[in-house]
Amino acid sequence: MVRESFSKYIKELEKEVTEMGEMVIVAITRSVEALKTLNVNEAKRIIADDMLINKKRWDIEEKCINLIATQQPVASDLREILAILCIVTDLERMGDYAEGIGKIVVMHGSEPLIKPLVDIPRMAEKAVSMLKKSLDAFLRRDAQAAMAINSEDDEVDLLYEQVYRVLLNYMIEDPRTITRATYLIWVAHNLERFADHITNICERIVFLVTGTMSEVKVSRY
């Protein structure tokens, strides 16, 4: 095979993107768990660990830039590197949402939650499942699978609306809950944004495979 070394670099990059995706999955899972248990110390660790995700993004970007500068990638090789640059930007931002939830947990402090969490963990689970599928679609270069993941974002949006409505009711009934309810709305918002970035990743997978750039889905938020 010609250009074996180049193919090797690309494979390494793909592996690093997957690793970064896994770091983001761990971060978002931990952050929702920290909220459930109101574990401020864990939340602080999540905030600190976001640096590792940021660093991973810079590392991958640097490798992409080096490959563009030295290997003159064209066609699908070029699209893959461009797609990776976009995907890691999204993943980095998703890491920030996990960090953001950590910050909300710190603000919330040890006051009890105004209600047991039901839909927020569901949003997180759904988003994590979408992200796993999108990373898989990326590795398999499966544009159809990527398109299918996009439609799942609607479910996250519906859960978000539900969380919002329920919490509004709490606030109307008892204004003393306003601060804590607002925190939870922020958390839900972070999760909704988190899932939106997965749709960006899916668009990039479609671009990588087909070469066409298009907004696959317009989010409601």
Binding site: V2, E4, S5, F6, I65, N66, A69, T70, Q71, Q72
Partner: protein, 254 residues
Amino acid sequence: MDFVPKIETVGLNFYYSDFLALEDVNIKIPGQNITSIIGPSGCGKSTLLRCCNRMNDLIEHTKVEGGIIIDEQDILRPDTDLISLRRKVGMVFQRPNVFDLSIYNNLKFGLRIHQMLNRKDEVMQAVQQGLEHVGLWGELKDKLGKNARALTLEQQQRLCIARVLILRPDIILLDEPCSALDPISTLKIEDLLRVLKQEYTLVIVTHNMQQAARVSDYTGFMYLGQLIEFGETKQVFTNPKEKLTENYISGHFG
């Protein structure tokens, strides 16, 4: 850059009659790596390469000053044994210069000059290893008696590299080794160079900047006989220190 240089030039000046072709060149080339020398025509890159095994001695009215240290020996000293220097520091040229002989005899030629290996089975073994190294053994093992000129240009260039390898050099100098080859053959030779760097020190002079970027670990940029910049290839091609380098590699002049 933290390495013990395999080749180091110290204040190297080189003249063709009165023309100063290399001016105070100080370069440290690491072992077991690929180093590219790039620069516009006439900048002295081939001259520098040819100094490293004293090929320039063959040109009249030339003068060299300074030092070239290879493995702690200054090879510019008059008592340097040129035959053994050129065995240790092999060279591959722009156009594959196979001899009008069989494939087998092309490879045997150097062994004879250097009086290495006389026994037929040893020669045969060396020929096989040389061809295996450059990925030609499978294709050519039944055609060793065929004239080397009948091979494709890429095969010829591989054969030239095998002819150097068979002499067990430490360093291989390559002067535009792919400029006569098509793009796919070029990429194949580049893959071969990446394999060879595990055992040898490779220095490649190329007009083709993209090739330097693709294949080398370190890159030196020369201009008007001076070494303007030397560094890791990824640094030179993403963030050159010198404006002149930047202008050249981005195609603003040259």
